[in-house]
C-alpha cells in the first residue's frame, strides 16, 4: 500500500515536472530553433531520394471523395474578392510578376487556353485527414517559361485574395514554393474541380495544386504569382501564412 502510494506520487510528480519542462522548452527560442533543424534535414533527405519528376499517385474516378473537406478560408469576405465574385470573376486577372522578363496578366478565359492537365489526387491536410478530388488547370511551367524567370528568381510567392486572420494587418493568405515544385509536371493552377468550375470554398476562381506537399501549400483564391529571390520581406518572412505561425515551410512531410 505504502509502496503503491509512493510509486503513484513519484509518477505524478515526474509527469508534472516533465510536462512543465517541455512547455518551458517549447517557449525557449534556442531549443525551438534546434527542433526546426529537423525540417531542413527532412527536406534535404526527401529531395535527395525523390526524383525531381516523381509523380504523386493519381487515382481513378471511382476513388473521388463525395465529401471533400474545405479548410482555411471557405467564404472570403474581402471587399475586393466579393466584387470579383459578384461579377462572375470576369474582372479577375492572374498577375505573374516580380523577377520575370515579361510580366503577365491573364483572364480566366485566357488561362483556360493554356496547356492544361487533369489529375485525380489525394489532398492531405496537415491535420491528418485526406480527401481525393479531380483537378483541372493550367500547368504552371509553360506560364513561367512565357514570363521568363530571371536568374536570381528562386521562389514563387502566391498572393491570395482571402484574409484568414482578420486581427492582423498581415492576415492575408499567401504561400511560396521553390522552382523544383514550380516546374513539376503535376503543379497546376486549377480552375476546375471534379469537372465543375472551382467552388468558392475550394478557392474560386483559381488555386494552386502542388501535389507532393500538404494542403496548406495549395494556395486558394490566387491573385498574383510573384517570382522572388527570397521571401524575408513578405509578411513575417517565413514564406507563408501558416509558416508565419510556426508550421514548416517544407510541407512534404
Amino acid at each position: 500500500m505504502n509502496r503503491r502510494h509512493w510509486i503513484r506520487g513519484a509518477g505524478s510528480v515526474l509527469g508534472a515536472v516533465m510536462l512543465s519542462a517541455c512547455d518551458r522548452l517549447n517557449a525557449n527560442a534556442q531549443f525551438m530553433r534546434m527542433l526546426r533543424g529537423a525540417e531542413a534535414l527532412s527536406m534535404r533527405a526527401q529531395r535527395l531520394i525523390a526524383p525531381r519528376g516523381a509523380l504523386a499517385r493519381e487515382f481513378s474516378p471511382a476513388d473521388i471523395s463525395p465529401d471533400f473537406r474545405a479548410n482555411g478560408s471557405i467564404d472570403p469576405q474581402d471587399v475586393e474578392y466579393l466584387t470579383l465574385k459578384a461579377g462572375g470573376f470576369s474582372d479577375w486577372r492572374l498577375v505573374i510578376d516580380g523577377l520575370v522578363e515579361t510580366p503577365l496578366s491573364l483572364t480566366l478565359d485566357e488561362l483556360r487556353g493554356w496547356p492544361a492537365r487533369s489529375q485525380i489526387t489525394r489532398h492531405d491536410c496537415v491535420e491528418g485527414w485526406s480527401s481525393i478530388g479531380k483537378w483541372t488547370g493550367a500547368r504552371l511551367a509553360p506560364l513561367l517559361e512565357k514570363a521568363g524567370l530571371k536568374p536570381e528568381a528562386k521562389f514563387l510567392v502566391f498572393h491570395c485574395a482571402d484574409t484568414l486572420d482578420p486581427s492582423l494587418a498581415q492576415g492575408r493568405y499567401y504561400e511560396s514554393i521553390d522552382l523544383i515544385d514550380a516546374f513539376h509536371p503535376q503543379t497546376i493552377l486549377a480552375y476546375a474541380m471534379n469537372d465543375q468550375p472551382l467552388p468558392v470554398k475550394h478557392g474560386a476562381p483559381l488555386r494552386l495544386r502542388v501535389e507532393r506537399q500538404l494542403g496548406y501549400k495549395h494556395a486558394k483564391y490566387v491573385m498574383r504569382i510573384e517570382a522572388v529571390a527570397d521571401f524575408a520581406h513578405i509578411a513575417r518572412g517565413r514564406g507563408g501564412f501558416w509558416e508565419d505561425r510556426g508550421y514548416e515551410w517544407y510541407a512534404g512531410i
Binding site: 527542433l35 533543424g37 504523386a56 499517385r57 492531405d124 485526406s130 481525393i132
Partner: protein, 274 residues
C-alpha cells in the same frame, strides 16, 4: 541453512544496448506525447486512402448531453463516456474540448505546429538510434547470441511453462537468469523487428513526398488513412509493451534491472555449492 545464496555480478547489457535503450526512452516518450498533440488536430481514424468523415472507425469527440459537455470515445459501434480524460478535459466551466488531455500532450496547450516540430525532430533521433542499434545487433551478433531463442526454448511445453511462471511473477534464478527467457526474447524481437519498424514506415507513409518517391510502400498498409490508423495502433501497442515491461522490471527486481541497464552489471544468485 537459511543463508542467502552468494551473488555474483555478471555483464548483462553491452554499452550500445544501454545507450540506445535510454535514447529510445527519451525519444519514444516525446514522440508519443507530441503524437497525441498531432492526433488532437483531427481526432478520428479511418481505413483506406481517404477519410470517410461520417464514418471514422474510431473517434474521440465532445458531445452535448442534457446541456452538459461530455467526452465521447467511439470505437466502431461502441460509445464510451470518457468525460474528464478523452474528448472533454477538466470539469464544468473550466473544461476544455480536446481529445487527449493536456497532461498527455506536448506542448500541453493546443499547438499542432509545435507538436509537429517536436515529433519530427525526435523521429530523426529515434530512427538514427534504431539504425545504430539494428546495425550493431546484426553485425555484433547481439540478435544471434542474446535474442534468438534456442531450440529447447521453442518447445511448446517450455513456452507454456514460462507463461505459467511469469503469470505468477516467478522468474528464473541462478544460471537460468544469465540469459533472456523465451518470452523476453520473443517480445523484444517482435518490438524491435516488427513494431518499431512499422511505426517508422507508417509514419513515412503519411508524407506525400515519400508517397511520390516510394509509391508501393503505402499499398503495404492499404492507403494513407490506413497508415495513420496503423501508426496509432502501433503506438498503442508500444504503450502496452512499455507498461508490461515496467511491471516486469519492478517485479523481477527493480534496482538490479535498472542498474544493469545503466552500468551493465546484473546480479544473479549462484547455486549453492555442495
Amino acid at each position: 541453512m537459511a543463508e542467502k545464496p552468494p551473488r555474483v555480478l555478471v555483464r548483462r547489457h553491452a554499452l550500445v544496448t544501454r545507450i540506445t535503450h535510454w535514447i529510445n526512452v527519451l525519444a519514444i516518450s516525446l514522440l508519443l506525447m507530441s503524437g497525441l498533440q498531432i492526433f488532437n488536430a483531427h481526432p478520428a481514424l479511418y481505413w483506406g486512402h481517404a477519410s470517410t468523415f461520417r464514418q471514422p472507425w474510431m473517434s474521440i469527440i465532445m458531445v452535448e448531453r442534457g446541456g452538459e459537455p461530455r467526452g465521447q470515445t467511439a470505437i466502431g459501434d461502441l460509445r464510451l463516456d470518457t468525460t474528464g480524460v478523452l474528448g472533454w478535459s477538466g470539469e464544468g466551466a473550466r473544461g476544455e474540448k480536446r481529445a487527449f488531455p493536456a497532461w498527455a500532450t506536448i506542448p500541453s496547450f493546443k499547438s499542432l505546429a509545435d507538436g509537429r516540430r517536436w515529433h519530427f525532430f525526435f523521429a530523426w533521433l529515434f530512427a538514427i538510434n534504431g539504425l545504430v542499434y539494428l546495425a550493431w545487433a546484426l553485425i555484433g551478433g547481439h540478435f544471434k547470441r542474446d535474442l534468438a531463442p534456442t531450440r529447447a526454448q521453442l518447445s511448446p511445453r517450455h513456452i507454456l511453462h514460462e507463461i505459467g511462471t511469469h503469470a505468477q511473477l516467478k522468474f528464473p534464478k541462478g544460471e537460468a537468469a544469465r540469459s533472456y527467457n523465451v518470452l523476453q526474447k520473443g517480445t523484444y524481437l517482435a518490438v524491435v523487428l516488427l513494431l518499431l519498424p512499422a511505426m517508422v514506415l507508417t509514419g513515412l507513409c503519411m508524407s506525400p513526398s515519400v508517397n511520390a518517391t516510394v509509391p508501393w510502400l503505402i499499398d503495404v498498409f492499404g492507403g494513407r488513412q490506413s497508415a495513420r490508423t496503423i501508426h496509432f495502433i502501433s503506438a498503442s501497442l508500444i504503450v502496452l509493451f512499455v507498461l508490461v515491461h515496467l511491471v516486469m522490471v519492478v517485479a523481477s527486481g527493480a534496482w538490479n534491472n535498472i542498474r544493469s541497464m545503466i552500468t551493465g552489471r546484473y546480479a544473479i544468485e549462484t547455486e549453492a555449492r555442495p
